[in-house]
């Protein structure tokens, strides 16, 4: 029964894009709208099919996934470490946090010329740029979560004479984990945003490259196909992350489960 309910929810999620697609297809077919600037779903589907059959789509998806995957690992690891250190060492917080918060506002494209100068045009700058995108939400999530751990919980741990390690494992980690996982999800999403900028750095494959290529050569069907591919790959990556991390928060009793 819960499986059926979950399937129904997934079906509801598909309803809006499905209605929009059918509506647009009809609008173009009846001549009510021009299909040149925003091609009808049939043409976008045909473009995706051509890309898939030729093998190009998988090449682009693989290139993007590898870059985002590596960037996510680097950025998330750095974000967790930096967040934990800044939250637990006051001197570091006063010293480092203001600069990191300022850098957080720098748009992805602004890094591109600098990264090319520093790291060249191969895979290193692409992965590092994605890592920068992933780093900030993870860093903010972790440092914020540690800083906002309920003092009473820590005091209870101390009353129970828990060692520093046990305190971290039994109290701090469960308290920090939910916000950290939200930070990781946000970071993964930003990784997919930053990959477009990353793939401006001399790439000849990747979904970001496919997107820019479509714009450069007046191919709106390719642009929309790349956007759809991004959406599907991004959603799949997010679901994979959720599935992998769900066991870590199994103990949570949230209102969402009862709605």
């Amino acid at each position: 029964m819960p499986l059926l309910r979950r399937g129904g929810r997934a079906g509801l999620g598909l309803l809006l894009p499905l209605v929009a697609a059918i509506g647009w297809e009809i609008a173009v077919a009846t001549g009510a709208a021009s299909g040149r600037l925003l091609p009808p779903p049939s043409r976008i589907g045909a473009t995706l099919w051509e890309l898939a059959v030729s093998g190009d789509l998988w090449l682009h998806v693989e290139a993007t996934l590898v870059r985002v995957g590596l960037g996510f690992l680097c950025g998330a690891a750095a974000g967790i470490i930096a967040g934990a250190l800044v939250a637990t060492i006051p001197l570091l917080r006063w010293l480092v946090d203001p600069s990191l918060q300022a850098l957080r506002a720098v748009p992805s494209l602004a890094w591109v010329p600098l990264f090319i100068l520093w790291f060249g045009i191969l895979e290193t700058p692409k992965v590092l740029l994605i890592a920068v995108g992933v780093f900030f939400p993870v860093y903010v999530g972790v440092s914020g979560a540690i800083a906002s751990v309920d003092r009473k919980l820590v005091e209870v741990g101390r009353i129970f004479r828990l060692s520093r390690l046990a305190l971290a494992r039994r109290i701090l980690l469960p308290a920090v984990l939910p916000a950290t996982l939200v930070g990781l999800r946000t970071g993964l999403g930003l990784g997919f945003l930053f990959v477009v900028a990353a793939e401006l750095m001399g790439a000849s494959e990747g979904l970001g490259y496919l997107l820019v290529d479509g714009q450069q050569f007046s191919k709106p069907d390719q642009i929309v196909a790349a956007i759809i591919a991004f959406a599907l790959v991004g959603k799949a990556a997010d679901m994979a992350l959720l599935t992998l991390t769900r066991p870590l928060t199994r103990w949570q009793d949230t209102v969402r489960d009862s709605l």
Binding site: A33, S34, R36, L37, V112, P113, L114, I116, L117, G120, I121, L122, L200, M201, G202, A203, S204, Y209, D213, Q215, Q216, F217, S218, K219, P220, S258, L259
Partner: protein, 340 residues
């Protein structure tokens, strides 16, 4: 208890003003969609797209077009674009009526839409694009580029230049590695030494020569004409040919002035382009001035570019450039008189 929660959270059905709100919302969305699909243009107006470099910037700065179009009751709206492709995308979409671009973007714009019209061209400026190498590079000729990495803007005028240069030197197209980069990023890669050569156009070409002492391996002479085209769309050339003619006349006048005032032009463009006036002066010295309708030679040159891009698989289908060439009404009358 939990079963009742969703119902408690759901809003009760309303028999109040909700349908009116829905009606207003759907009407609003419909109007918004219509506005997006058909960008508005005032009856007596022309919307011009321009880039930071070229005659249209001068025309905008001097305000002479507004003066010329005033007797016709036509107003001018200017929009700046970072490069040719988005400008021509806007032109095809009907968001602007007139603009200028180099050789390559119109090829792809024509493949995307039958609306595009070539209305005029400037004379070739083959020295305004080149393949650069660092001053201490061991590369001495185009033939030496075999196996090397070359930075370029994909599908641009220099892409065609590179294809022609490699073919002439007997280097297969897949015998070099290509790094597709926008000019600013290519400049960074070139300075760092991440690429062995850079195919680029003015004013970036002049700036790179001055800043890095880069050597010109080959320019467009004998390889690529490097023309600048003035473009419009069929709907506009059909409905307002007299406005198009007036704009071309104004560009011709500004070109005639610019040819004799290179220093003044450099000083005027330098702040907008972000390149020092002396460097810009070098680039302007390589420009060719004057506006003319497309003759057979210009069409043939442009057709070669189209065929080259189709051969590379960058164009989905072959195109005929001649199909997109607009003829001024007075020239049409002349042609008819000649054929009688």
């Amino acid at each position: 208890m939990t079963d009742r929660m969703p119902r408690a959270l759901a809003l009760p059905p309303s028999d109040g003003p909700a349908p009116n709100r829905r009606l207003l919302l759907s009407a609003g969305l419909g109007l918004a969609a219509a506005a997006m699909l058909r960008p508005a243009r005032a009856a007596g107006s022309i919307r011009i797209g321009y880039q930071k470099y070229g005659s249209l910037v001068l025309l905008k700065g001097r305000g002479s077009l507004e003066t010329a179009l005033q007797p016709l009751g036509v107003t001018v709206a200017w929009s700046e674009f970072p490069s040719g492709p988005p400008l021509l995308e806007a032109l095809n979409a009907g968001a602007i009526d007139f603009g200028s671009a180099g050789e390559a973007p119109p090829i792809f714009a024509q493949a995307a839409s039958p609306e595009l019209r070539y209305v005029a061209t400037e004379p070739p400026a083959p020295r305004g694009e080149a393949i650069l190498v660092p001053k201490d590079s061991p590369v001495r000729s185009v033939a030496d580029l075999r196996g090397k990495t070359i930075a370029l803007n994909k599908g641009s005028n220099v892409h065609f230049l590179l294809v022609r240069a490699l073919a002439q030197a007997g280097v297969p197209y897949d015998g070099v590695k290509l790094a597709f980069l926008a000019p600013a990023d290519a400049n960074a890669a070139f300075v760092r030494g991440s690429v062995d050569a850079w195919a680029i156009w003015d004013p970036y070409l002049a700036a790179a020569e001055r800043a890095t002492g880069a050597r010109v391996l080959a320019d467009g002479q004998g390889l690529a004409p490097n023309r600048q085209f003035y473009l419009s769309r069929r709907g506009f050339t059909d409905s307002s040919p007299e406005i198009v003619s007036a704009v071309l006349k104004a560009i011709g006048e500004v070109d005639a002035w610019a040819e004799g005032h290179a220093d003044a032009v450099a000083a005027e463009l330098a702040p907008a382009v972000g390149i020092p006036a002396p460097v810009l002066g070098v680039a302007l010295g390589r420009l060719s001035y004057g506006v003319a309708p497309l003759d057979a030679a210009a069409v043939a040159d442009q057709q070669k570019v189209a065929d080259a891009f189709h051969g590379l698989g960058l164009l989905p289908r072959p195109i005929r450039v001649a199909d997109a060439v607009w003829t001024q009404p007075e020239r049409r009358a002349e042609n008819r008189a000649e054929t009688r």
